[in-house]
């Protein structure tokens, strides 16, 4: 299967996808670990996926 790529909006790393990626799909950037959401497949656009708030001891 062919692959597509797009830049991570946070760290700039190349994120690779299978060609049949669909809108709303979630992927994880392999470099910064950020969860990303596909908001458009043509052109391929990623945005930071909504995060559940964590209690970080504050």
């Amino acid at each position: 299967m062919n692959q597509k790529n797009a830049g991570c909006p946070v760290c700039g790393a190349d994120v690779i996808f299978d060609e049949d990626i669909v809108n709303g799909e979630l992927v994880v950037c392999s470099e910064c670990g950020l969860e990303l959401e596909v908001t458009s497949t043509s052109p391929l656009i990623l945005k930071e996926a909504p995060q559940e708030a964590e209690d970080w001891g504050e």
């Binding site: 946070v10 700039g12 790393a13 470099e31 910064c32 670990g33 950020l34 969860e35």
Partner: protein, 348 residues
């Protein structure tokens, strides 16, 4: 492939024990001798209990050392340089883990160690042993001086920033937290359990000797805006260097990512750890125990020029014995990760 014969001068200390642990499982190495003046004749497992049944080696004295292909010097600081001719005569390749040949000039030794180096003509014959900075020179080197553990942690975090105009620091303040094994095997009143336990001891607020080699490698002058403080904390292995960097030009986190990726993208032992979720968001020395990794992370204050860089490693591994074995692999044309594949433990 025939095995490379190696010996270790100074094998009873913690770095000597760590070298043994690594080299005993190195597929291209045969350990010929390991020395200890104090424990000569005793099996090495009596001093390094983790090696029981792993090896039947016994300690020799330095005078009993025979020729070998590569000699590791894991002696305490100041002891390599007085016997350096003897050591050089034993092996065509020498890897020194002490501070005796890290600095390039006698002026630096006077400034940071308060000594007139007795063999200044040898200083430029040693390559400073951080592969990520000097890999090409190490490939053809016959003598390598491994870097100090604190210096390694600080330098690996900072070096890429000092090489690029976009992220070049105007001022840097490094705070190192270090485990107790850094102070070696010999006990002192300060390492006595009732005194040491629970301490957060700022043992070197200014003037740490490792500053000399950091300035040397970052090409900074003595009076640069670079400051370094070291604190002993409640752990046995590990170093975490938190560097407060004040950038000379505006930069985004994406710029910082790009800089680190450019320098370390293909490095086998550098990992960029900067996660926005989970428990391990920035480098944590605990999970690096026994590994040769240096983890590096950062956070840029969006409202100022302040960049926080966090680097962590195991002081006995990437900060000493692991670094030495990595250099050995490079010097001998072997795959760099040979004998250094241990990924660490979790939980630990």
């Amino acid at each position: 492939m025939s095995k490379i014969s190696v010996s270790i001068a100074g094998g009873s200390g913690y770095t000597g024990g760590e070298l043994l642990r690594l080299l005993l499982f190195h597929p291209h190495v045969k350990i010929k001798q390991v020395t200890s003046e104090k424990y000569a004749g005793k099996p090495v497992f009596k001093i390094h209990p983790n090696l029981r049944t792993i090896t039947s080696l016994r300690f020799s004295t330095i005078e009993e050392l025979k020729d070998c292909d590569c000699l590791f010097l894991a002696l305490s600081h100041g002891r390599s340089l007085h016997k350096i001719d003897f050591f050089c005569g034993l092996a065509p390749k020498l890897i020194d883990l002490s501070s005796d040949f890290r600095l390039l000039t006698t002026e630096q030794y006077r400034r940071w160690y308060g000594i007139n180096h007795p063999r200044p003509e040898l200083l430029t014959q040693f390559v400073y042993g951080i592969p990520e900075i000097h890999r090409q020179e190490i490939k053809s080197a016959t003598r390598v001086a491994c870097a100090g553990c604190n210096a390694t942690a600080a330098l690996l975090g900072l070096y890429p920033l000092y090489q690029t105009p976009l992220c070049h620091p105007a001022k840097t303040i490094v705070e190192v937290k270090a485990g107790s094994s850094q102070s070696g095997r010999s006990p002192s009143p300060g390492s006595h359990h009732p005194e040491r336990n629970g301490c957060y001891r700022v043992y070197q607020p200014t003037g740490h000797r490792h500053i000399g080699e950091i300035l040397q490698e970052l090409s900074l002058l003595w009076d640069s805006s670079f400051h370094f403080t070291a604190t002993s904390v409640e752990m046995v292995r590990g170093i975490q260097a938190v560097s407060h960097v004040f950038l000379s030009e505006p930069a985004t986190e994406k710029d910082i990512w790009k800089t680190y990726r450019q320098f370390y993208g293909s490095e086998p032992f550098i990992r960029i750890v900067k996660d926005n979720s989970g428990l391990y968001r920035l480098p944590e020395p605990k999970i690096l125990s026994g590994t040769n990794f240096c983890d590096i992370g950062f956070s840029k204050d969006p409202l100022s020029d302040h960049l926080v860089v966090v680097s962590a490693l195991d002081n006995l591994m990437k900060g000493a014995a692991g670094q030495a074995v990595q250099n050995f692999n490079i010097m001998n044309g072997l795959p760099e990760k040979t004998a250094l594949n241990f990924p660490g433990l979790h939980p630990i």
